[in-house]
Amino acid sequence: MSASENVPPILPEPAPPVDKTLRRLFLILFLRGRALRGLNRQGAPKSIGEKLALTLFFYLLMGCMALMFANQSVFALAVYLHAMTFAFLGMFVAASAGEILFNKEEGDILMHRPVSSRAMLWAKIRVLIEVSLWLAVAFNLVGLFVGFGTTRNWLFPLVHLFATGLEALFCTGCVVLVYQLCLRWFGRERLDSLMTIAQVIVSIAAITASQLLPQLAFRLHGALDVSQVAWWINLLPPAWFAGLDDAVAGSRMRESWLLSGLALGVTAVVLWLAFVKLARNYESGLQSLNETLSPRITARSGPRWLDRLVDLPPLRWWLRDPVTRASFLLTSAYLMRDRDVKLRVYPGIAPVLVIPVIFLLRGSMVGTGKGDPGFGVPLSGIYLGLVPLFGVRLLQYSQQWQATDVFRAAPLAGPMALCEGVRRAVLLLLTLPMLALVTLIVWFMRGSFSELLLILPGLIALPAFSLVPMIGGQGVPLSLPTDAAKAAGRSLNMILVTAVAFALSGLTSVAWSGGWFWWLVLGELAVVGTVYTILRFHIKNCGWPAETT
């Protein structure tokens, strides 16, 4: 190539820095979200300020739970605040990091522009850290006042803010580090599935922690200090950051200083590894996302075993209808392979397991004896009955919702057979394992086989509950845009369902103590049988629901 062929530069020389542009871009993308995908009829841009303010307000409200710790020691309050911050931030960053750090579509948009991978990485990390810090501060705001009120020490708000900032850096660093290591060790093809598993676990852990921690806190009786906690608590990251609070504004014991040192040291190492040492891998990681090879479906991935299983009795008999069978297999594949569905469904049904455990725990704490099963066991059964209700409802949403046009194009009078496939997939793949787990937990915590009978009212209600999401021809698998999932008034439904579950559990508990448990079972069988028949008749005659998008 001759020098004469060089085209004179059209653009300003030297190339201007792009950091500000990238930061603004990733902040907008982060806050507006990527869930729209052409589904918004108006498609009007959402105010990122409004969205951020709402998110911060939500975190601020969640932080009000710190008021329960008003009379606790600094260490107990700090452990609570840091544990919750860790859980919320961990869940938030884990859920967002995949989209932000390794977004497949981004390659086609940005990688042929004059932007270095390092500049992109730094802009993304900066946005992740910024948003994490805002959320952490919003969540801890009430805690700051509670701590100040308890200690009357102005150092507490200062050191707690510092420790929270450090914790946000630690959380972000950990998630980025995990991504980089996964990419380095397992390669691009397995990154997605590994990170989905990690996100599901983190999300479930966060929900579990947020439900269990306040319950456990009631056992502290206001006297907990750093020297009294079990040794294993000091192995957990929230305790390190709590140590920092306690060392400066609390007991100032030697153990607190040791924990503070751990917090500072580990955070420094994590940040160095994630943002300096492994940053070079990022460029190759981004490039590897552009490789156009089709992902291989290995023998281990996907429900191949399920394909074989549905050809054998009893599943072959249970799934005689070909449409139901196809819908069952489709739902199963999404439950096992699709990242978006997994992240919505598994954390969505986690409370079903966690809340009864809390009541079982409380039952054992407040001293209900072996002869009195209290409220926990029947509640476990009723909540189990709710798994198909939540499962079928959550499985209506998908990022590939437009693909379900194929259902309407098929010669089907209505969605009944499709909905039946989802229902059966949820019963087999979600409810059955949950039943086994709940049975084990109840047996382990109560040590009595006879009390397992108290799960029965929940199991009887299960078939009727599982039909509820299908009323009016709803419940077609994967047919609704994911944005609708956010606007579906989940909290209100959850409150209503919880109220019914608590009422039924209370009735069961009273019936067991009063000796008329079997009469209750008979009565419930009659009522549920009637409701089930009516619902099935209604759903069978339902046509397709009107399209709203």
């Binding site: 059209i10 792009v18 542009t21 603004r24 841009p45 004059p114 156009t292």
Partner: protein
């Protein structure tokens, strides 16, 4: 303008592009053809700095691709086949963001964007009031083409640029690239619509399984192989000659 010297890309044991070498002078429109999986998109992604070559060299606009990737990227425009955009941005936000990445001053960028809006018959309100996620495929494609040409690059790669464009927009686009070539810009045009390639391109490069099969002027190549049209030549070279017979056989399976 473009110089490829044994450019190779391997994914594990699979070779997607195998020692590809050719040269393209300034002002030429080159049709870059091949069947699915031939390595066209991989080649384009390497030439635009999106993928790192496994071996070989490439020089674009006088800059070495591996040593000066950012300089190459500043002088290259690319319309990827996917037509991907950030769906959470409005069209205007997206184009302003792209302009900022090339260091185009805001006022100059807005003036340029308005020229493209007029050319593509887009409404300014749509561009400012709607998120890209709500755009039709054709409108989105127009935004992507605008974003590739906004910084006035001397070299432009188009990968299936007509996908989603209506007939009028497609006619306008073909006229545009011919004019751009007359202005001295180099265009690499990858497409499966062979009659368009035959009419628009000065030269055609056909690859298959990552290897160069043919390189020359469309009319000369067609005449040289006595194939009548570029489409027939393409099917002869890439093993599609039996397609008509296979289609007839397959159609028989639909008989009641």
């Amino acid at each position: 303008m473009i110089l490829l010297d044994k450019l190779t890309k391997r994914f594990g044991t699979q070779t997607a592009v195998d020692s590809l070498s050719f040269e393209v002078p300034a002002g030429q429109i080159v049709g870059f053809l091949g069947p699915n999986g031939a390595g066209k998109s991989t080649t384009l992604k390497m030439l635009t700095g999106m993928l790192e070559p496994s071996a070989g060299r490439a020089t674009l606009c006088g800059f070495d691709l591996q040593r000066e990737p950012l300089a190459v990227k500043r002088n290259v425009g690319f319309v990827p086949e996917s037509g991907a955009v950030f769906e959470s941005l409005t069209g205007l936000e997206y184009l302003e963001m792209v302009a900022a990445l090339y260091g185009i001053p805001r006022n100059a960028a807005q003036a340029r964007i308005k020229q493209f809006i007029a050319f593509f018959d887009l409404s300014f309100e749509t561009l400012t009031d709607k998120l890209l996620g709500a755009y039709s495929k054709g409108m989105r494609r127009k935004v992507v083409i605008t974003s590739a040409l906004l910084h006035n690059p001397p070299l432009v790669f188009f990968d299936e640029p007509l996908d989603g464009l209506d007939a009028n927009a497609a006619v306008g686009f073909k006229a545009l690239i011919q004019t751009l070539a007359q202005e001295g810009k180099t265009i690499v045009y990858s497409s499966h619509i062979l009659d368009v390639v035959e009419r628009v391109c000065h030269r055609v490069i056909i690859i298959d399984k990552g290897r160069l099969l043919l390189d020359g002027k469309p009319d000369e190549l067609v005449a040289g192989h006595n194939s009548g049209t570029l489409e027939k030549l393409f099917t002869q070279l890439t093993g599609g000659a039996e397609l008509e017979r296979r289609a007839a056989d397959f159609a028989k399976t639909f008989r009641p």
